[in-house]
């Protein structure tokens, strides 16, 4: 089966590349071995977690960093492209460009970020949340993945005294009869239509009348943001959402919208299948095979490897080494296992920067040779610690777009 481009991996990076290419009229296939890390999304896209300007930090990064490889100028060029891609999906992200703003984490701490979904709590700086008067922090009775004690404590540290309330409805109680399945997503599936209205009424009844702002867990709108808007419409005061522990409702919404967009543009999306081998010839990848399709060769002019890091199994390891799982391309890692990890989990763990070896145009390498039609993007890339830096989503989005651009250029040639 022949395609223009085959994208291996269906997360943020693969989707960014796939949608961009499909928009250009390319016939694309996307193979996704399971669902993506967007299921753990924070509600924000972090470009680089620093004070001030993220793009300003690029020049100080080491040359192995994906941002350095893409280059500051290219990143600046791609910024509006990224924003319009998200807007096209119907995702309403706000920013404070060129300066980072702050997102509120599921425990109420503030982290620097680039783009945040409009309904989320955000601040222009740590301790500089919007000028709220009386704040109601609303928990859902029995929902354990929204830690109101911590949020309240951390709001307090920022000088905000929130009234903690806890609400429930008969529908939510029914959900809680299951000992394990009262997750963000189960709640989001329940709180729609009349159940959502009833929930809003309970919130109003539970909160003091003079509340100026309501803070709620981000458990609304798994398919689209309809329920978020419907919820906000029930209140005459602002309603802001705070990210929950995984799974992430807005992340799943984003994933769904991206997948739909990709398919609507004619892309073929294969979920639950995995690329197991590739045929390399003369410095090019000719075709790939997958778990489900036996000896069917999926051929393409270009390939994008966007399978993620260890967590999503783009990278695997055993006692002896670290490997790229789909095609067995080259990986940058330390040979001595002792040096992969450090004893404090919050240290800069060396294994976090392991990943696929690429040249400066993000071409992957196999046996030391650059593969001119195979690009690596997102968390599978080596040379950066996305968690420590606060750059995972940013690198994924920007490198996906960057690679789509590179591929588009080669067609022009």
């Amino acid at each position: 089966m022949k395609f223009d481009t085959i994208i291996i991996g269906g997360g943020l990076s693969g989707m960014a590349a796939g949608i961009s290419l499909a928009k250009k009229g390319q016939k694309c296939l996307m193979v996704s071995a399971g669902q993506s890390a967007l299921h753990f999304f924070s509600g924000s896209i972090d470009a680089y977690g620093c004070e001030g300007s993220a793009v300003g930090s690029v020049s100080s990064l080491p040359s192995c960093h994906p941002y350095s490889k893409m280059g500051k100028d290219t990143l600046i060029e791609l910024t509006p492209v990224a924003k319009s891609l998200l807007a096209d999906l119907g995702l309403d992200f706000v920013n404070n460009d060129p300066i980072n703003h702050y997102r509120m984490t599921p425990v109420g701490l503030m982290k620097p970020t680039w783009l945040t979904m409009r309904e989320y709590v955000r601040g222009s700086d740590v301790g500089q949340l919007e000028r709220w008067g009386k704040v109601a922090l609303v928990g859902i009775k029995g929902y354990l993945d929204f830690n109101t004690s911590f949020i309240s404590q951390n709001l307090d540290r920022q000088g905000i005294n929130a009234v903690e309330v806890e609400v429930t409805t008969p529908e939510l109680q029914k959900l809680r009869t299951n000992p394990s399945e009262m997750r963000s997503t189960n709640i989001a599936k329940t709180l729609v239509g009349d159940a959502l209205k009833a929930f809003a009424a309970e919130v109003k009844a539970a909160c003091p009348e003079d509340v100026d702002v309501y803070l709620l867990p981000a458990v609304f709108g798994i398919e689209d943001d309809g329920p978020v808007k419907a919820l906000q419409a029930e209140f005459d005061k602002p309603v802001h959402l705070i990210a929950t522990m995984p799974p992430s409702v807005p992340g799943i919404r984003m994933q769904t919208l991206m997948r739909r967009k990709f398919q609507a543009l004619g892309g073929t999306f294969m979920l639950g299948d995995a690329v197991v081998s590739g045929k390399f010839e003369g410095g090019r990848l000719v075709s790939v095979r997958t778990q489900n399709h036996g000896d069917m060769d999926f051929e393409a002019d270009n390939f994008v490897l966007a399978t993620g890091n260890f967590m999503t199994h783009g990278l695997t390891s055993d006692r002896n080494g670290v490997y790229e799982a789909a095609l067995g391309v080259d990986v940058d890692y330390l040979a001595d296992r002792k040096e992969w990890t450090k004893s404090n989990i919050f240290d800069d763990q060396p294994f976090m920067s392991f990943g696929v070896a690429t040249d400066d145009n993000l071409h992957a390498k196999k046996d030391g040779m650059v593969i001119e039609n195979l690009y690596a993007t997102g968390s599978v890339l080596s040379g950066f610690n996305g968690i420590k830096e606060g750059s995972s989503t940013g690198v994924s989005l920007m490198s996906g777009l960057y690679v789509a651009n590179q591929i588009t250029k080669t067609i022009g040639r």
Partner: protein, 541 residues
């Protein structure tokens, strides 16, 4: 600041390991007004860092007849008094082609002489009895080994001691001995929670502090030669075996695989380590490699089984008094009357021994204390079941059938707390919600533990309930449990710091085996707690 509240006890027991817990129970049962003090949490030392093997004594039969006899005797006692802490799995001693089959006869003979029922069985029968066993075995002996949960056993003894009137203070470190002339009359305690000190008096002070007992003896003005021996172990993701598997040869590295609760444990190595390292035991890659290499010989499927974590404990080996070099090490029970030995009245040290013989050690130490106090009351710990292990009329262990729809978590809690699980709240949907999904720990069980089982932080909670001890080592449950702790203590600031420390405590066991699924899990944990939540700001480097 010193809080000079002075309280008078008959006995102070130092050390919240199994020996201290057992001693506190025995003392309390004999009517002594007892205080148990522990510098950190119960089971922090060697008690919480071993195989959890209910030795039949077979392992010692050839080399140490006395230990073997003690083991089998205590083994039988624990089966009746600590039913909910024990799994009657039986054990196999297997001979592999590389081992000397002739050793088997010596082994069986020694076992029988010590009163251990050891029976040679056909290798084919062994393969049926335990399908995970190395198929190449050429000999097998069945012995009455089992599994014992040291966390549960210690807690059960502490709970029992409390029910008999004992007071228990965890996070209270002995920082000095109170003396009246040569006599020890009490201890000075530092409360690690509020950083205040206080003095407590007692007629007798029993040092049951394991390897750390050396320092206690020094504080009392005497000397003892302790030699820490490090043993490293690995925990696997599930029970690959349901029968304990041992190698039938002279004791060596990694020759015991013990199933315990939802996991199994391979161990151990044995290396003398300097005394100043005992508070920071790390497992090295070399030890991991040895454990895996040898472990796979016992049960080849370990090669494809997920490793959850590595840990190491220190055995408190005691040098014989006439040999300070430590070459002549006693593995048996050492009960020192410091009045006789060093001219320090009011002070007893109970050490050496092993998890299996804790009750006997407690008996010896309590007997000595009673003698000194002039109390004539017989030890009853061998015949009185621990709270949680009482037999109900008509109930036989392991045979209970559960009705359809009875929650898996209720059964799990019953496994952990025995009959005391009746006190776990389970009346409403909110209490029945799962905090830890791997280990089936409900909100109700967490609340029960906080209220009844000396829980102050996440680490305590883990040891009492198995929260975060499953496959993922706490991905979502850590945050859930921390939320409940924050609410119950009304201190979210403390709970956050505690959570961060706990995330790191989990990682300490994971990074020595940081490859494959464990590495993936570590990255996922970092992504949640640092990337998503930003909790790393509370990390005290």
């Amino acid at each position: 600041m010193t809080d000079e509240t002075i309280k008078q006890y008959d006995v102070i027991v130092i050390g919240g390991g199994i020996t201290g817990a057992g001693t506190a129970r025995d003392c309390a049962m004999r009517g002594l007004k007892t205080l148990l003090v522990e510098r950190y949490d119960l089971t922090t030392g060697a008690t919480g860092r071993n195989h959890g093997l209910l030795h039949s004594g077979a392992r010692y039969a050839v080399t140490d007849h006395e230990s073997a006899e003690e083991c089998i005797s205590e083994n039988m006692i624990l089966r009746s008094i600590a039913r909910h802490c024990v799994e009657e799995t039986d054990g196999l001693f297997i001979t592999l082609p590389e081992d000397d089959l002739a050793y088997q006869a010596t082994f069986i003979e020694s076992c029988l002489r010590a009163g251990i029922k050891a029976e040679a069985i056909d290798p084919a029968e062994a393969r049926i009895l335990e399908p995970a066993v190395n198929k190449d075995l050429i000999g097998a002996v069945k012995v009455p080994d089992g599994a014992v949960d040291p966390f549960r056993l210690t807690m059960a003894n502490v709970y029992d001691a409390r029910m008999h009137g004992a007071d228990v203070l965890t996070y209270h470190e002995v920082v000095g001995m109170e003396k009246d002339g040569d006599r020890v009359v009490g201890v000075k305690l530092l409360n690690h929670h509020n950083h205040q000190t206080k003095i407590v008096h007692a007629a007798i002070t029993i040092n049951a502090a394991g390897i750390w007992g050396q320092k206690i003896v020094q504080m009392a003005g005497a000397q003892i030669g302790m030699f820490p021996a490090k043993g490293a172990l690995l925990v696997f993701g599930h029970r690959v075996n349901n029968v304990v598997i041992n190698r039938c040869r002279k004791p060596a590295n990694a020759d015991i695989l013990v199933p315990g609760d939802t996991v199994c444990v391979i161990g151990t190595t044995s290396d003398r380590v300097p005394f100043d390292t005992v508070d920071d035991m790390r497992v090295t890659p070399e030890e991991v490699d040895v454990l895996l290499r040898e472990g796979e010989k016992l049960a080849p499927c370990l090669a494809t089984t997920r490793i959850l974590r590595a840990y190491a404990g220190v055995r408190p080996l005691v040098a014989a008094d006439n040999d300070p070099s430590g070459r002549n090490i006693s593995r048996g029970i050492v009960c020192l009357d410091h009045e006789e030995r060093d001219g320090i009245p009011g002070f007893i040290t109970i050490t050496g021994g092993k998890l299996m013989t804790y009750r006997l050690m407690a008996e010896w130490a309590t007997d000595m204390a009673c003698r000194k106090l002039g109390i004539d009351k017989k030890c009853a710990t061998a015949t009185t079941p621990l709270y949680g292990s009482e037999l109900k009329a008509g109930e036989t262990r392991g045979k209970k059938t559960y009705s359809i729809g009875e929650k898996v978590a209720f059964r799990a809690a019953e496994g952990r707390h025995g009959t005391l699980s009746k006190d776990v709240p389970k009346a409403d949907i909110y209490d029945n919600a799962l905090v830890c999904e791997c280990e089936q720990v409900t909100v109700g069980e967490v609340k029960y533990a906080i209220e009844n089982l000396n829980v102050h932080n996440m680490l305590n909670l883990r040891r009492r309930t198995r929260v975060a001890m499953g496959t993922c080592q706490g991905e979502l449950c850590m945050c859930r449990a921390a939320g409940i702790l924050a609410k119950s203590e009304g201190n979210a600031a403390k709970a956050q710091v505690d959570l961060v420390e706990f995330v790191n405590e989990r990682w300490h066991g994971m990074y020595p085996v940081g490859w494959a699924d464990t590495l993936c899990e570590g990255q996922f944990t970092s992504m949640i707690y640092e990337g998503l939540c930003g909790l790393n700001v509370f990390d005290k480097k």
